[in-house]
Assembly symmetry: C2
Homo-oligomer: 782 residues x 2
């Protein structure tokens, strides 16, 4: 039972072996081994982004050559210009999306309402249902056939991207167009879906495309953009784009910055904060200018509802300690409902995935069924409500006839309105505004609100996951507002708070309970409602709901990221990780190259493994003893092989890398590069040699195999070696240190990778059997 260390000295086992095996099992549950993930609705091969500075001789030389003052100035200027453009374009796209939605949905509601005015109820239902179905099917067809990647909210994909996982098409031009058009169609079709998530994905696409100079298919790019042909700069741009998305969706510039900071990005620094803030400020200014333009009435039915902005300052907010119980109840309820919502969504998504896997026709069928059910709910349920007389002394016409208004006449007599229809038979934005409106405590009946709450909760769950671009934010805000108002009604005289405020607090609690965002939800709600005096209450309710919900499960985006199979490194190390060391989770065999290597071996290894990085070893005669020279990347090897700069024998004079290659050859263009299978070699070429020395990154970050998993986790996470531990495709990159001895190759080398489930099992067994000699274990791995 004595665990041997590589240097031969015996120590007591620190953990019972069974315990250690349990922990390894846990580590393997925590990670995934697949190189595939569900991007949007397409199963794609995912790859790791490379945030490490690759310091090989060639690139260092290039960097030194171009670090003249002028070039740095060009780079900085260009980056700010790009941020400005991202802001302007995001603002425009956000505005146009809203304009289109408001007009399409508005016309639909006006036509239907007019039919109902003349008692053509069946016709009205027909027009309503068919137009919804057509819009939904249009969105579903373009998504399914043109860009399946555009399905869903896109936030999990962007989150994965900002954490180091790339997937093809994720930010392509096609995705962009489908996302915008699909989102407009889906939201206009009265599906219970939001537009914030798709907006965020859209603006991230814009950011990424701008960085590479447009669609890569058409090679639209210019000399200046060469600076952005790497993953670090692209990540910065996408971060700005993501912030701009939320800013455009909610007109919440600060909320956008904070949302990205809090829930999306795992890498952040002060300059980026400042740049993202600049972008969202531009968005805010553009939106304001465009909305001012619309005030002159040139934008059709685009009115107040265009961008959510609920002004609840009208009433002076006052609250006191007596309102505390109500707030606490709301928080607890929000936490429970939010975690349940997350749980149900993940269950439904699993079922939907099974259906969707059967083929496109099934996907479309599912979308059609959801659309029809939604139409039935929206049109059918308001009949359950009794008509209420119009309130006196209001600014708005009641009932609203011939326009998209808040007091829906529906089936009621003149001067009466249907309170349930003013929630159901409206765009989600208008419904939210109705619920948030102050001084309207008598406008809704408890019964109507309860019906709407139940419908809204389940429609939200069942609508997410069909093959259209659809977000979660707005449904969550709407559902939260509903039960918030309901709570207010049930509290009755126990609380003096306005029911509109209850609705705002309800939204906060549901956002806290489902998405578990804290600071950003407060800021977004403040920016939405334009009322800062609410702040302490909102903070309290969010704190409680998040704490309660955290007892049950994790936040919705983490659940989705996991469901979709994206590897993800969390910001903190789990406690069990301190009890494992790196060698507990690495696997082998370690594939490495000599600094001058046979072409045949390189080709063979590239073909037989999926690794993206390989250690390079200097051996005699290049050094006195075997020594780790560094790391070479698969993508660089492919460039070398393609150029066929081979040596005839291993001790030939080295090639002049600086003559043969320019740094641009190795730049990452955002286009999928060649695969090893695409390059054909002659037999004599396979016998030649390739000089890896100028292309080897001589200073990779390294860990020793006795480092605890927790500490290695921190290194991986913090230095942006975002090559997730689970990502078996890139096991060695940035993680190898060597101490090779001439006598025995007892490698201190270490890779961080997780084997396939099968192999893992084998290894656990092997450890069990050979636990007395760690040395053997290590040798067999490396």
């Amino acid at each position: 039972m004595v665990r041997k260390r590589t240097n031969g000295e015996a120590t007591e086992p620190l953990l019972g072996d069974q315990h250690r095996i349990d922990l390894r099992q846990r580590a393997s549950n925590y990670t995934s081994t697949s190189q595939l993930a569900l991007v949007g609705f397409r199963v794609s091969r995912i790859e790791s982004l490379d945030y490490e500075m690759s310091e090989n001789e060639l690139l260092s030389q290039d960097w030194r050559a171009r670090s003249a003052r002028l070039e740095i100035f060009e780079y900085v200027l260009l980056k700010w210009t790009l941020c400005f453009l991202i802001g302007v374009l995001s603002g425009c796209v956000g505005f146009l999306t809203n304009l289109a939605i408001e007009n399409i949905a508005g016309i639909k509601f006006v036509v239907t309402s007019n039919m109902m005015l003349v008692n053509k109820y069946l016709w009205a239902f027909g027009v309503f249902g068919v137009s919804n179905l057509v819009l939904t099917m249009f969105a579903a067809v373009i998504t399914a056939y043109i860009a399946p990647v555009a399905a869903g909210s896109g936030i999990p994909e962007v989150k994965a991207y900002l954490n180091g996982i790339d997937a093809p098409e994720i930010f392509s031009f096609r995705t962009l167009i489908v996302k915008i058009v699909g989102c407009i169609a889906a939201v206009s079709s009265s599906l219970h879906v939001g537009k914030a998530g798709p907006m965020l994905h859209t603006t991230s696409c814009i950011a990424s495309l701008l960085g590479q100079g447009g669609s890569h298919k058409y090679h639209l790019t210019c000399r200046w953009l060469q600076y952005f042909k790497n993953d670090r700069d692209r990540r910065d741009l996408v971060t700005c784009g993501a912030g701009a998305g939320i800013a455009a969706a909610f007109r919440a510039p600060i909320g956008g910055v904070l949302f990205v900071l809090e829930s999306l990005s795992s890498w952040w620094r002060s300059t980026l904060l400042w740049r993202t803030f600049f972008t969202t400020a531009v968005v805010a200014v553009v939106l304001r200018a465009l909305i001012d333009f619309c005030k002159s009435g040139k934008c059709g039915l685009f009115g107040k509802g265009g961008l959510i902005m609920f002004d609840v300052t009208a009433d002076n907010v006052s609250y006191n300690l007596a309102d505390l119980p109500a707030v606490i109840i709301l928080g607890v309820v929000g936490g429970v409902l939010g975690s349940l919502y997350n749980c149900l969504i993940s269950k439904v998504l699993r079922v939907y995935t099974l259906i969707n896997e059967k083929g496109r026709r099934y996907k479309l069928l599912l979308a059609a069924i959801v659309s029809i059910c939604t139409s039935c709910c929206l049109f059918g349920l308001p009949w359950l409500a009794s008509c209420r007389p119009c309130p006196g002394g209001i600014f708005e016409a009641c009932p609203s006839i011939g326009r998209s208004g808040n007091f829906k006449k529906f089936q009621c007599a003149p001067d009466h309105y249907n309170d349930l229809a003013s929630l159901f038979f409206n765009t989600n934005d208008d419904a939210i505004r109705n619920l948030y409106s102050g001084g309207t405590d008598k406008a809704f009946s408890k019964y109507s609100i309860l019906v709407f709450f139940v419908a809204s909760y389940f429609l939200g769950i069942f609508s997410y996951g069909i093959v259209v671009p659809c977000g979660l934010f707005v449904p969550v805000i709407l559902t939260g507002a509903t039960y918030g108002r309901l709570t207010g009604m049930l509290m009755g005289s126990h609380s003096t708070l306005d029911h509109g405020l209850f609705a705002v607090l309800g939204s906060a609690s549901f956002l806290g309970g489902s998405m578990r965002i804290t600071v950003s939800v407060c800021v977004i709600l403040l920016e939405l409602t334009n009322n800062l005096l609410l702040l302490p209450l909102v903070m309290l309710v969010v704190l409680i709901s998040k704490s309660v919900a955290d007892c049950f499960n994790s936040n919705i985006y983490d659940i989705l990221v996991k469901l979709k199979g994206f590897p993800f490194l969390y910001g903190y190390a789990e406690p069990y990780m301190s009890q494992l060391i790196v060698s507990d989770v690495v696997t082998g065999p370690l594939q490495m190259f000599n600094s001058v290597e046979k072409v045949g071996k390189v080709v063979h290894i590239l073909k037989t493994t999926g690794h993206n990085g390989f250690p390079v070893i200097d051996e005699p005669p290049f050094s006195d003893s075997p020594i780790l020279r560094g790391l070479v990347l698969r993508s660089h090897l492919l460039v070398l092989l393609k150029k066929r700069c081979f040596l005839h024998h291993s001790s030939a004079a080295p090639i002049d890398a600086f003559e043969q290659f320019s740094a641009n050859d190795f730049a990452k263009h955002g286009v999928k590069g060649d695969a090893i299978e695409d390059i054909i070699f002659a037999t004599e070429e396979l016998e030649m040699f390739i000089d890896l020395r100028p292309f080897t990154n001589t200073s990779p970050f390294t860990v020793v195999e006795t480092m605890s998993l927790a500490k290695a986790h921190i290194l991986f996470r913090e230095v942006g070696t975002k090559t997730s531990p689970s990502h078996s495709q890139i096991p060695f990159r940035g993680t190898c240190s060597g101490n090779f001895d001439e006598a025995r190759l007892h490698a201190r080398a270490c890779a961080w990778a997780v084997p396939t489930a099968h192999k893992r099992k084998q290894k656990a067994t092997a450890v069990k059997e050979s636990k007395c000699d760690q040395n053997v274990q290590v040798e067999s791995i490396c």
Copy 2:
């Protein structure tokens, strides 16, 4: 001219040698070599905090033993409880400070005004001047004699702490008390200083003291608090405390979180965001409850002015594109004035430091002179203004008599007021409120505002740096508001904006220009003025002023941190750093130990160096070849030496570390530990051996000497190895990798340290002479 690499192969020189030497010179300018810094007003020895997990056998064992579920739960619960307590205490301290200031200053103004009512002008000046002088001297005396560390704003010290620099007394109980009392006295004495900075330092003290269970002198602590006896947890608590400080000063909970995130902390993660937010939420709730309590009139003169909260929602804000030029002008002016302000403050501080160095009496004399000059300004300058008739239809009494009000009668006839006196002869908070107030475009004359602006600008510069606790925030806000309003007046009919809004925008531009904070200044101003519609304008003005000011110098806190001599690692690597490699800046000789080392050698090295960490080398017979075992810390060595667990000869049976020591022996108690000089050894003890193996951190982060400085910088910054590159006291910690070969000791070991100026010069010369053989260079260093 060929640069040789350690593995013996020749490459072309990548940089001209002169260029490289220039760059090294630049690197050395960037860093400082001193182990001393000006903490508050005391020159103290600074030390590096240790954020790395020290993974030696003893501590790992301990962690494993205590990572039971219950203990983790205890830890989490306790941390949240501490955050709650920090919030409650910060709220109370913030409230009490304001209460005291408002009452002391209020009584002073009422008494003086009453004397002026009966035309006793000289008496009034006497009382005013003497009371100011007494208050200032009281603050100065307690600061100079009891806790010089409490002088100044404290923000640079907290910033340095959060970036890894510790100094004795920085968060002691004495500092806390002097900071609170001194701040109250200084602000009440009408000095042109703020209370936000001291508040932030105060709450950080509270956080740190709570974490260690009270003052360490009295050993107030309990078993549970053992979890917090390390630098990582203490950093988290201080971060929460700092956020609470800004939240308490401005009643801006979100602004507090963002300020810490944006300008103080260099280390951040989602959990910490959430915890800081919780703390500031508690502060907001406590403040609100206490202010509600005061509404009943039990708090003396504490009124609206207590905590800055300027409600400018009264007027509906409207603005359009025509206002853009005004905003742009404000931004540019703010940028220029802000950078000039920073420059002047640093010049004045240099002069003050020369005076202060001469002794306490000079410090006090300086404080007295500044106080008298300030009193003269405040009392004298209002005589320059002409009296203005009271405006009609206002809520407030005009002129305000017998109470601390905004319309000061001063020397005027009845029904008239002195507009300059209502700015000068008031607390800063009231002056800001007057400037921010809307609908008062006619209340001030251009001339008065100009006089006040000039006075306020220079009083701010000359008041910061005397030996009292004094902040910069409020003077900056006030000065900004002044020139903002002035700009509004000068724009005349070219802009439709209210002059109160111009004042708010002016504050934003000056904050942006001087402190260069962006997102947080927006949020703080929004929370202060309770008006979200201003947001786009505030964002724009901050963006412009920061961009303009960045062309001239860096932000005020960075300037202060540098002036005070704190080493600081910025979040980004300077471009020149990519052109240097680590071995360009490391220095020697490398001091290292064998894994079983002679006591005499350990004692000698500890006595003769200031290093805090030493590499430990396994040599035969403990390993086949020399190999880097890890790193041992000075503090751990001191514990070992004090316990005198020595071996009689190097190959004796190892001691049982787990029997002899507990992890608690090595915990960092926040108390300054023993120095090596305090431990006396017998001669025979010096000949004995000490077994370092169980105490060596076997997995330090490592870099190779060919890594570029930029990349190493990122590692140091990101993994929290916050041992600044400049900090010569801790040159080796976390930075050594070894590949020792039996044949030749060609170390890949590397340290990151900067030699003294003298040594540096020598080295630069050495490189010049021996540049042909880098190998020699490296060997001579290590």
